[in-house]
Symmetry: C2
Subunit: 328 residues, 2 copies
């Protein structure tokens, strides 16, 4: 059990705005909007290959697929006026334009690697600040639409896979510990979302009065503690009832690969159980395939694979078929 | 859906006793016992290849295996004094010696074929009556240890597979209809036993005042009615929710072929669901393999396969392993 198994992705997000331009909610002026856009695009052009989309040009399926892949927030999908998105071809950097702020620069990397995520986000921000005049106050730091992002404008987060802490009812305790450290625990799709497939997002709450380094350090500390707790919980589960865990995991595999229809939630839960089993050494399974399927089986991504609209009933059958074909 | 799918086996059993010899419960005299035994064995010798066992020489596993295969009753297994069993090599005829009566001649055949079962039982009885003096009263008919068997001494029964009537909650209605006709419905292992794997035994209750032909006719009538009801119930289930039935059957197959441990009851239930699905055309499966596994997975039969004693926990794991190996 390495740390990479437990921390699925690491993410750093920077909120930035152009000085003297109204925040997106009040940004009506086409010329001002053009300043915001051009700053973002010329920065991207200087750094990497990328795709650019205006939200208004995307279908619902395309928008929701991007949400399911954590490239954009669902808040951005409703901004058909001036919302846009830049995504680097390697998908490690994405820039939401005119979500709550003019720029939400985000870097997501696999596994436990906050430093790389931070480095990539800052690299974009450095170049961006040469292209546009970023709103900054010497006392408050970076100015943002919502005061909770003032200061560093940075949110660092990790997505953690915590099945054993969930099964042993230790998540409430984790949430308390995390909050005491000034951090927060959320579901897979951010604020207010449900937990699915034993996945939890740990992130900093405070952006003001701490340096970027402090934020990353605090997060790393709680992540390390959580990794240890999850490993201990897994060992405890195996010690208490190895046969029971094995049976549960094997049955999950059986249902996953034999069901005639599968809801999105059940599918994620079953994939998570098999993944846990593989990590615990009680079943053989390719974890990267499971991770891919976990994303692909979400409604919009699945519709994109199918290439045509489906009723929810058809989608549940197609999901089961897709899993059967891709998981042997 | 042919009738053979619904009637799994047909059975005729004749209770007979040697005249002027005490019934088994009071049979202490070794010489009289020898008369009973020799009559049975010389009859078998004249008719077919057979195996003969005295109950006292059989291990518990061997005795219980015979019970699981419906060759002997569990009542016989406790008669270590003078109990014995003759089984024809083709297993269509078995004779329990000194169960409740001196002889319980039984013929079981596959599918819906009471005539063959009756013919085989009567063939044995004909020859037997030439070898020993059978207790018979002109007014009462064949004399038996228990008055409920007086008269013909015959019990005819069929084992029926009724998943759709079970799922649509129509079994209580069936039991009432059957009782009104002077017949009875029991679980898989006879009187007082539970129903397992959607299997029900329909048999005559009355042995006195009816001819053998009448008994067979009455049973055949109710069996035909029940077959029709089961077929209708299956069509209704498919009509109402084909996808739901398919999903349930496919998941049962998934659990059956992937579980790490399986109890005997769960195993029978899952096998029955897959068998139902195969008969209804929603899954491909070899029904004869399923029927064999349904017997082999019972505790004693499984222990015999393994060749060594197992704890219940070990047996549940071995059962799952055995199913995985034998059901692809």
């Amino acid at each position: 059990m390495t740390n990479d198994n437990i921390v699925v992705t690491s993410r750093v997000r920077l909120a930035r705005n152009v000085a003297h331009v109204p925040f997106p909610a009040r940004l009506k002026d086409e010329r001002a909007f053009s300043v915001v856009m051009k700053g973002a695009e010329s920065t991207a052009k200087a750094l990497f290959e990328y795709d650019f989309y205006r939200i208004s040009t995307l279908s619902d399926v395309d928008k929701n697929t991007l949400v399911e892949r954590h490239m954009i927030s669902s808040d951005l999908t409703v901004n058909n006026t001036n919302g846009a998105i830049i995504i680097s071809k390697d998908e490690t950097v994405s820039v939401m334009i005119n979500e709550e702020d003019h720029y939400r620069i985000q870097s997501i990397v696999s596994g436990y690697d906050l430093d790389t995520a931070y480095r990539k986000a800052i690299e974009y921000e450095d170049t961006l600040s040469k292209n546009v005049d970023i709103a900054y106050d010497n006392k408050l730091g970076y100015l943002t639409a919502c005061p909770t992002n003032l200061g560093t404008g940075m949110r660092a987060s990790v997505m953690m896979f915590l099945p054993a802490l969930t099964m042993t009812n230790n998540i409430a305790k984790l949430v308390k510990t995390v909050q005491r450290m000034g951090l927060t625990v959320r579901g897979v799709f951010g604020e207010g979302s449900d937990t699915k497939g034993y996945m939890y997002q740990l992130s900093n709450e405070i952006t003001l009065g701490l340096s970027e380094e402090d934020i990353l350090k605090r997060l790393a500390d709680i992540v390390n503690t959580t990794i240890k707790a999850e490993i201990q919980a897994r060992e405890a589960l195996l010690g208490a009832d190895r046969d029971g865990i094995t049976d549960r995991v094997w049955r999950a595999k059986g249902t996953l690969t034999n069901a005639y229809r599968l809801s999105s939630d059940e599918c994620m839960e079953l994939i998570a159980l098999v993944k846990m089993g593989a990590q615990m050494g009680v079943i053989e399974a390719d974890i990267s395939t499971l991770d891919k399927l976990s994303v692909m089986c979400q409604p919009a991504s699945l519709t994109k694979v199918k290439g045509q609209p489906m009723t929810p009933e058809e989608r549940d059958k197609y999901r089961a078929e897709y899993i059967r074909q891709n998981l042997k």
